[in-house]
């Protein structure tokens, strides 16, 4: 291999697209490192503070597509204060100077300002795709800049962002010459959009495959859009409330009959059950169905609709479907690969909900199931053991019992054996979230059996440091560990400090680790940033008392030392 000219190596590397494989290639030798880095166009940075933009640009001169993730996962659940960081501006600034050919940017959990979006829109003449997931800090002004200035925009995908609505007609800012749109998702926007502009935009976008509307787009507009875009593959409806006897309803019926390509359906942010039958003709071809925001549909009507969806591979739904509804899913959706059941009312107990029955039914009926997120009111060991037996192929298994320290209601036992069965049976498990009453035993099982585990989320579990030590010692492929409200302390934290350089990050909040232990860790491991989030008032903060418990600690490996944008309440030790 040493005698191959670099061009040949490069050509061979072209066939290697996965980032992990590319990373591995670059470690083989200096030549391979050089050829690989000069030909790499897509880069994924899992933690924006692990590296800095200039290093990135220097290493990958042909960068075309960048994916960046910012805040820790638990930021989703309000555990990370506002202004913690993850600002994307420095990245866009550096890229605008060093990487003008950038085409794609995908950001998750980052703070994106309107200035960022404006700079982005003006700096990259070939810019094609912007995906923002769970980001914040921008408004419709920024979107207007993107729409107006990105001449070759193919994709604008806004997933679950907090966007400030400035009542700007940003959609109208797409010039008449813009005909390149393939994917447009603005479901998370709260404000009105100019409907006429929307219709015209759709009409002049022959390549449009994915369109997700927001709640402000009324029912009556939907048929006009579908008539202009019968080639849509992925549709997210806006408001879906109307009189089934109306003209608009009939016109929608007719428009839908011409949409033969729709494979993915979502939206229904505002919906009345009586309107659902109009989409039934689409159901038989659907592979993805997301009704997780459709609180207006009760379990019976949900079930009725799902009976038509025999080809479903991915289903996101609310727990009002009930165990009986899930049994129907199990008997209808034989191709199901991913199921997510969300709580319709996170605080109510005793309302219509799902239990272990539903999950067991699904596991029994859907042999291809590999990914589950399940919010339920109770779970039993027997149920989990059945699930493990029926579905040895789980890659992602996340169970959330709404009362997080609830035991098996039939036996009063902790759920150690149930989760133990899951990790023992599912040899390909990469992601796991556990809940319910759990002792150290479940962690022993996880350390013993979960060999492929990359991400573990733990809350209100375990009894001692041993638990965390089992996991750190046993899970060789662990990349992300996030723990809250567990009795794990310094012994566990310091048991294998070298381990943390093999991982992306560790989050521990409301545990038993002390400031002293964190300082020690930071001293011994210069390539880790050990950050303490301190939310006490100024006067009470005391960096000298090593014995005080640390409320929130986030540590991550990094090549570039402590970050310079940390706010006052974050101490990097």
């Amino acid at each position: 291999m040493n005698y191959f000219p670099e061009e040949v190596l490069e050509h061979i590397f072209d066939f290697v697209s996965s980032n992990q494989d590319r990373n591995a290639i670059s470690l083989v030798c200096k030549t391979w490192f050089k050829v690989e880095r000069e030909s790499r166009s897509r880069v994924f940075v899992g933690n924006c503070y692990a590296v800095n933009p200039s290093r990135l640009i220097k290493r990958f001169p042909r960068l075309r597509s960048l994916a960046l993730k910012g805040k820790p996962h638990f930021a989703d659940f309000n555990l990370v204060p506002h202004d913690w960081g993850a600002f994307v501006y420095p990245w866009i600034d550096a890229l605008s100077k060093g990487c003008p050919d950038l085409e794609e940017l995908r950001l998750k959990r980052m703070v994106v300002s309107d200035d960022c979006l404006e700079l982005l829109s003006k700096s990259f003449p070939n810019f094609k795709s912007l995906v923002l997931d769970s980001c914040e800090g921008f408004s419709t002004d920024g979107l207007a800049a993107i729409a107006a200035n990105c001449r070759h925009l193919r994709e604008l995908d806004l997933q679950e962002n907090e966007v400030d609505d400035r009542k700007v007609h940003w959609l109208s800012c797409f010039p008449e010459t813009c005909t390149s749109l393939v994917s447009l998702n603005f479901a998370c926007l709260r404000g009105e959009v100019n409907l006429a502009s929307l219709e015209r935009l759709v009409a002049r976008s022959p390549n449009l495959r994915s369109l997700k509307l927001n709640r402000a787009v009324p029912f009556e507009t939907l048929h006009k859009i579908l008539t202009k875009a019968p080639q849509l593959v992925d549709l997210g409806t806006g408001s879906f409330v109307h009189d089934p006897n109306s003209e608009a309803y009939n016109m929608l019926k007719s428009a839908i009959s011409k949409c033969r390509s729709v494979r993915s359906l979502s939206g229904f942010l505002e919906v009345a059950s009586r309107c659902l039958p109009v989409v039934y003709p689409l159901c038989s071809n659907l592979t993805t169905l997301n009704l997780s925001y459709a609180t207006g549909i009760n379990g019976t009507d949900l079930t009725k609709m799902i009976r038509h969806c025999r080809r479903l591979q991915r289903l996101w739904i609310l727990d009002c479907i009930g165990d009986k509804g899930l049994a129907v899913v199990a008997s209808t959706c034989k191709e199901l690969e991913e199921l997510r059941v969300f709580p319709s009312d996170p605080y109510a107990a005793g309302s219509a909900t799902v239990t272990e029955e539903g999950l067991v039914a699904i596991s029994g009926g859907c042999p291809k199931l590999h990914s589950v997120l399940y919010f339920c009111h109770q779970m039993t060991n027997a149920g989990l053991i059945s699930v493990a037996k029926n579905c040895p192929n789980f890659v992602r298994f996340r169970l959330c019992i709404l009362d997080p320290i609830k035991a098996d209601p039939t036996t009063g036992q902790p759920l150690d054996e149930g989760f133990g069965a899951i990790v023992q049976s599912c040899k390909r498990l990469r992601r796991l979230s556990i809940s319910g009453l759990l002792t150290d035993k479940v962690f022993l099982y996880i350390g013993m059996y979960a060999e492929q585990l990359e991400m573990l989320s733990v809350a209100f579990a375990g009894e001692s440091d041993k638990a965390m030590i089992y996991v750190l010692n046993g899970c060789k492929k662990l990349r992300k560990l996030e723990i809250r409200d567990c009795p794990f302390g310094n012994l566990a934290l310091l048991t294998d400090i070298g381990k943390y350089e093999t991982m992306r990050s560790l989050w521990m909040s409301s545990c038993e680790v002390t400031l002293g232990a964190c300082k020690l860790l930071a001293r011994k491991m210069p390539r880790l940033n050990v950050e303490i989030i301190n939310e006490k008032e100024q006067g009470q903060a005391n960096l000298d008392d090593d014995r005080q418990r640390v409320e929130k600690m986030y540590l991550y490996r990094t090549l570039v030392g402590r970050r310079k944008d940390a706010p006052d309440f974050v101490w990097t030790l």
């Binding site: 605080y347 005793g350 919010f375 809250r484």
Partner: protein
Amino acid sequence: MAKLGVEFEITELRLGLPGDSDEKINENKKRVFSGEMDPTGDEEAMKTKAVVVVGWPPVRLYRRRGIEEASANNKRMVKISMDGVPFLRKVNLNDFINYSDLLAAVDNLFECSTIGEAPKGRHNSEYIPIYEDTEGDWLLVGDVPWKMFVESCKRLRIMKRSDTKGFGKFAIKK
């Protein structure tokens, strides 16, 4: 109906969820939970027992808000009072598609057949349905298009016709 009202209130209590308030973060250190739910499903007990812990259940704020808003939007809960009846009822106006539908349901609620069909039947009945709009005025039910009514109605009152003596006959437009 009453249960729906309470559920709504439970959601309302949570709308000011943490994220901004430091106080709540310190309050919620203990692993205290409601444990076994009261099997009788007593709403009051549920409210007092359930401790709100920051970030639990792990549902994204975006999704949580979306569901709360969707629930709120899908329900147009209004109170209905009937003269002479000591308690009120609550209905979801979005459950009905027109005035007849609503008034028939109101009949059932108060178990009287005096309101009867459509606004047209009203001039024969003992009762007149009126509603308070968002501007605080009391209007006769049936004058405006149904959708407009649903959006502007804050509460309903089934008034005894005898109370309207002195105001002359009503010209019913529809």
